[in-house]
Amino acid sequence: MRGAPLYRLLLRLCHPADVRARDGAELERAFAACVARERARLGRAGYLYAWIRALADLLSAAVLVRVDAQRTRRIAALQQLPTPHGDGLMFTLAQDVRYSLRLMRRSPWSSAIVVLTLALAIGANAAIFGTVDTILLRPLPYHEADRLVLLHEAIGKSGPVGFSAPDYLALTERAAGFESVAAFRNKEFELSGVDLPERVTGAVVSASLFRTLGVSPAIGRDFLTEEDRDRRAVIVLSDSLWRRKFGADPAAIGRTLMLERAPYTIIGVMPRRFTFPNRGPLLNNTPADLYVPIAFAPRERAAFGSMYNNSVVARLAPGITVVQADSDVRSVVSRLVEEIYPSVFRQGGFPLSASATPLREETVGRVRTLLYVILAAGIVVLLIACADIASLMLTHAAGRQREMAVRATLGASRMRLIRQSLVEAGLLTVCGGAIGLAMAQGAISLTVALAPPTIPRLREIAIDWRVVAYTTGASLITALLCGLLPALESSRRDPGDALKEGGRSASSGRRQRRILASLVTAQFALAVILLVAGGLLVRSFARLMTVDPGFRAKQVVTIPTSLPRTAYPAGSDIRSFYARLLERVESLPGVTAVGASTFLPLSVRERRAFTIEVPPAASEELQGTIAHDWVTGRSFEALGIPLRSGRYLSPSDSQSSEPVVVINETMARRFWPGQDPVGQRIAWGGPRDHAAWMRIVGVVGDVKQGPLNTQTEPQSYSPWTQVADGMLAENVIGIFRSLKITVRASHDLTDLATAVRSHIRSLDPSLPLTAVQTLDQIVEESSGPQRFNTMLLGSFASIALFLAALGIGGVLATSVSRRTHEIGIRMALGARRPDVIRMIVTQGMALAGAGLLLGLPASFALTRMMSTLLFEISPRDPITFASVTALLIAVALVACYLPARRATRIDPMVALRYE
């Protein structure tokens, strides 16, 4: 039974312990039977129906059980001793509850609307709080996670990069401020030997990683230091991979898996809730399905000044602060060039530095603003809902003035009347909160499903006692906010007046109208803030969608491939595989161009330092790093990257011809301003590296290397066919043996993808089938985070607008019905319909206008905090502010017009006879 734990929780909240102890288990069983019965009767809706009925049942029983107990006690007391006078608090409270329940039953629709509104607002809040709590507030799921830091290196003014192997190894020996240090790196693997072969994302890790994190495998054991040192083929699985491949069989330990077609022995399985690496950091941030020893190759150990691609996590020694650790790692790394680097680096003064940041900061720092903005938006929606309900209850209370007066004359104290009103509000919010909590569960699954994968810790989000506590607190505060005003208001009046007046109020109505007016104004002001925030995101997203990525995404499929080292040991094997594949795909019908590259646009990860042979005098900066991609086939044509001058790379650029390179426009502009760079030569590394010169043969259009909201960097492309055989086969990260095939076609892409895959399979049946994506999908995915923000805040803003419109419409409608008499007189005295409409609409628009006047400056002040979430839009964007104003005025006009029209339908005779 899915709902059983929640029902048990509610039982615990509602029923006294002795009742629970006696009947708890049977109640749960009976509840399950009811749910099953209603499901069988009503299908899916039965589930909801059963829950609502069971909830009502539980709440009424909760009250009545206490009343029963009270009664029993009172009778017992009466029999034994002379009773003290007066009612017990619990008893009158129970009376209030019973009375409120009766009221709710009397107007089921308005109660249902109130409960549902509250359920929505509280549910949304619970879901958001659950998300924020998990991601931002709770410690990472590692042992004493606040002592974990991520270490980065930096070269000159470059942003933070990872550690190179020799630097990491030197650090493990020299850094004093750490208890332990570990390196890790994401890596893709071809996984076979169980089920169908597939590609999975794993991590290569140093043996110290799990010890550093303070997490041990759930079954099996951790890596041994010698397994890392001796490059042993052992593997630790993630819980999810273990369940998927082995059906959670503990006997998987000791079995063998094939990684890149080499056998690995399974030695452990990590715990269920363990995720590492986390999303969030810039580097190596894909949660791994499996872990193998990092086992640095001799070439990596000697890679001074290159391959800064390992992430390093460290546990601070007890008593060491992050600041101390930061200065420690800084000083260790800055001395490395002197101490261990080859002399060539010392002459140029290689500017190596490092830094330490808390792991948690690295993981969640980038989503903090977003989450707080969303949390604030949720709370604003709740406040608007509160105002709605408060005004609804206020008008209700106005209608019940006589009743209150009667009760007051019969001796009910003011406190008692206030409490009655609070109990009413409380009951409504408790129902709303309980349903909201159930809805929060759904909202959380929805959030997790829709959230872009870049948001860290999504897997950890769940409803726990903290969320329940937050929801309870939010409900209680809501009850206070909704109930207090009507309570004070209805208990304030002199009962004699209310009885004399005959229900229609004149002077007292003014006070109430003022309160209602300020509630509506507040609603509008809050709605303005949300709408401006939502509007800014929508505008920014629209701006993002107009960004030209630099390629033509229509009609292109991309297929990632990767050739395992064991099956393709030599460069020539790799070369012939791709040559044959491209040739076969090119001959498919409808294919207009085929190419392959080491990276796809929007995710170019390679950055290289370079030197210009004859530096032009006018260039602003002579050195720096540029993005780089290796391409083969007709990659530019397939991607639709336009040629600006010179020529594209061609198949004739081979190992025997002159090394060539093509650059993008940004690179041409920045390094050869006002000149044609074609014919110039560049080389990798610094001037002392003496690398081979490469001639620039063409300039192509700019293509984004990262997501659409990033700056285009200078980039170069060189022919994959000119990469030396040894490099092709031996490159440690294996980028040359993992090419992304891009195919542009003139017809249906799904058939094409299948055809390409079957060609791959005919060349190598054991290559895993990988996800085929169209270039359009890749573009869409790259704007996923922005889409998510916009959707979320946009929907909040719409809800806010709707609730605010509901508020103003409701208040005017009540006002119209209360002024029937007055309007009747006016019309009898000759007022025309347009006059009446104008009168009512003006009254409403004054409120909306006041809301705007308050809301606009407030949003002006608040949206500044959103500037990091916006793309090329100022947080004070006049167009957004103007359109929000226009939208609100339009909505307010509609909301005011409807009750105004009703007012004109008043027949003066009927209205006067009403007397």
Partner: protein, 114 residues
């Protein structure tokens, strides 16, 4: 001559619960299903209120709790069973008589066939 005092009318759901227990001992879930079946789905007893009412019936000595019989359906613990007390039997019968009286009137007034 003074007539014997009339017992107060029983609330409908009390009557139905007592009726379920008239010919056999049942546990809470059993009563729930029995009432549902007999009333053709018109009276749905929900768990929390059902158990509250059972407790009140016990307090009023119309019903008594007994241990589950040995052959009670296995699985899911040992539910408590309820049995009608002689007082409960009289109360239930009196209520039935009262209702039957109305039926008689309806019959005499030819609302329903004899």
């Amino acid at each position: 001559m003074k007539q014997a005092p009339q017992p107060p009318p029983l609330p409908p759901h009390w009557f139905q619960i007592l009726l379920s227990l008239a010919d056999r001992d049942l546990h809470g879930l059993g009563i729930m299903n029995d009432v549902l079946e007999r009333t053709g789905g018109r009276m749905r007893l929900w768990p929390a209120m059902l158990y509250r009412n059972l407790r009140r019936l016990v307090d009023a000595q119309l019903v008594t709790e007994i241990d589950a019989p040995r052959d009670a359906e296995p699985g899911g613990g040992r539910p408590r069973f309820y049995r009608l007390t002689p007082l409960g039997r009289r109360a239930c019968a009196a209520e039935a008589e009262r209702l039957a009286g109305f039926v008689d009137v309806a019959r005499r007034k030819r609302l329903i066939k004899a």
